[in-house]
Amino acid sequence: MGQGRGAVMAELMFWEAVRRAHDEELSNDPMVLVMGEDVGVVGGTYKATLGLYDKYGEDRVIDTPISENGFTGLGIGASFIGARPIIEIMSVNFAWLAMDQIFNTAAKVRYMSGGQLEAPVVIRSPGGTAHQLGSQHSARMEKVFMGIAGLRVVTPSNPRQAYGLLKSAVRCNDPVFINEHELMYNMKGEVPEEDYFHPLEGSEIVRPGRDVTLFGYNISVHWCLQAAELLSRHHGIEAEVIDLYALSPLDRSGIRDSVTRTHRAVIVEEAEPMVGVGAEVMAIINEECFYELDAAPVRVSALNVPIPYNHSLEKTALPDANDVVEAVRSMFGV
């Protein structure tokens, strides 16, 4: 139950970290179950449940029919009376079909029952845009989930978080949506060798700096880190990078504290700008520390288009580290 600092670490790939969290939680509690399309015999589209079907059996590692709203609702119903389902939605694009059960049931049942019922389900799904998958396989939906009261939303940027967030999410009594990324499953990173439960709220300073704060989450944390390196090396600008692994609730005090230190903010999101993480973080900055600002906050986002198939168009539609560098340069006029 440590914080993962100073612990003995193992190097794991992101998918291995997610798989290990599944394995440990399945073995810890007989009421934990995993369900989703191809999670059983196949072991998961991204290997997140590899080998667990053989280990825990078909009643707990369940290959579901392609019925997103149906099996998500089934998992939610099971969670009402003690089951702890981990529901994998094969790609976040397909989560639209399960929105009814996620929003109308999981997020609201505690409230509308006056606290009598709760839906402790975990719903995890790869979001983000991979390469040339086309418009219907490239959605970034974190903004949709984080806009709904009653649901927790977390999004790991590395294997340690992927492991620890899933473990805490399984044990937490709220419904938790975990937004992963198709391009990150093979990323390597250090994960504590013993049980590690990552907090579901808060943020992490992944690189300290004094001149400007770069806010990222999930894949955009990595763009921010690359940009911070380039800014330091070429422009002498020391950027602080904050990892917003919790998107709902957002870490208001963490955001305020960093902006109070650096007086400047750039928010980097993989999604379209409309009604997104950038807009929300800017609103928080306005509400919490407007008078600390030395410059208007800026967001670096995708273009407001469905994601194209063509490689060059796709690259143009999405932000990257260079866009972050450019945004900071123009903020400083260098």
Binding site: M1, Q3, P30, M31, L33, D59, R60, I62, T64, P65, S67, N69, G70, F71, T72, G73, L74, G75, I76, G77, A78, S79, F80, I81, G82, A83, D100, Q101, N104, T105, V109, R110, Y111, M112, S113, G114, G115, Q116, L117, E118, A149, G150, R152, G164, S168, A169, R171, C172, N173, D174, Y196, F197, H198, P199, L200, E201
Partner: protein, 330 residues
């Protein structure tokens, strides 16, 4: 069915009828807000099925037309009325309203407003029962029009695939709001539709509580014995509009008259009178007693109860003080 049980059921159904009629008045008096869906005409469905269930162990879940199911499953009528009055003493603490009656200590798992929403929830409750190797079952009541939702087909498929202990009860009142079933649904006999999933089913007269009880007993025995899901279609009729905002103009008066001759309460009453087990006076005394109880206990409790504190508006959104939010650190 024993005579004493028949008499009790008559009283329960009459209570349900008077309760719902009093809700109507309370709505007109503006003591009840929002959407209000009433059950008169359909009483034999909930009462017949739930009479056959295991009150101490089984789970019940349904739609927005949920007051009577909740009361039959043990909810205190005073607290159901207090919920409709939006009071802190309501079953759902005034946060739910008419469509969201919950009484979880009795395993009444709620009323839900999205048509078809409870189909997979019921299958999920049954899945958890199966994991715990329990003998209890989950009973899900929904309307006829709900069967045109994707969740119906998705849930029937999964319930049969995994042999889940769930009984689906279709209260076929022939309408989804103002659309008559033959205008919305290619196969009018609902019990036939589950044969596509190899789920055994039956169609029964939903106005005769004894017949409903008999059909439900058979269905429940099937589910409880581990043979998987079962589906019952009960043919019934609602007397009032779909909800309070419905003028009911789309139904022929002749059709309404025809169904009112098959009133579930009158049918049971007359049978008991004919068999010499009840007098007309017994019945009117019972009715007076019920009306008094509703007025003097149920309505008084609801009107005199306090509203929720406005400062509590943010309670029940998320779990309170859940240690795992902080990574397990207290």
């Amino acid at each position: 069915m024993k005579l004493a049980d028949k008499k009790r059921l008559l009283r329960e159904m009459l209570f349900a009828r008077r309760f719902e009629e009093r809700c109507y008045e309370a709505y007109v008096e503006r003591n009840i807000g929002g959407f209000l869906h009433l059950y008169p005409g359909e009483e034999a469905c909930a009462h017949g099925v739930l009479e056959a269930a295991d009150f101490d162990n089984d789970y019940v879940i349904t739609s927005y037309r949920d007051h009577v199911h909740a009361i039959k499953w043990g909810a205190d009528p005073r607290k159901v009325m207090a919920e409709l009055y939006a009071k802190e003493t309501g079953v759902s603490k005034g946060r739910g309203g008419s469509m969201h009656i919950f009484d979880v200590k009795n395993r009444f798992m709620g009323g839900y407003a999205l048509v078809g929403g409870p189909f997979p929830l019921a299958a999920g409750i049954a899945k958890a029962i199966q994991m715990k190797q329990g003998k209890e079952i989950c009973i899900c009541f929904l309307g006829d029009a709900a069967n045109n939702q994707g969740t119906f087909h998705e849930s029937m498929n999964m319930a049969k695939l995994w042999n889940l202990p769930v009984l689906y009860v279709c209260e076929n009142n022939l309408y989804g709001i103002g659309t008559r079933i033959d205008r919305s649904t290619a196969v009018v006999d609902q019990y036939k539709r589950v044969s596509a999933y190899n789920i055994p089913s039956a169609q029964e007269d939903g106005q005769d509580v004894e017949k409903v009880y008999k059909a439900a007993t058979k269905a429940i025995n099937h589910v409880r014995s581990g043979k998987g899901p079962y589906f019952i279609e009960l043919m019934t009729y609602r007397y009032r509009g779909h909800s309070m905002s419905d003028s009911n103009a789309y139904r022929a008066r002749a059709e309404e008259r025809m169904w009112s001759k098959r009133d579930p309460i009158i049918m049971l009453r007359d049978r008991l009178i004919e068999d010499g087990h009840l007098t007309k006076k017994d019945y009117t005394d019972m009715d007076t007693e019920i009306l008094d109880e509703i007025e003097n206990e149920v309505i008084v409790f609801a009107s005199e109860s306090p509203e929720p504190h406005v400062s509590d508006v943010e309670r029940y959104v998320l779990a309170e003080n859940d240690p795992w939010v902080r990574g397990g650190v207290q």
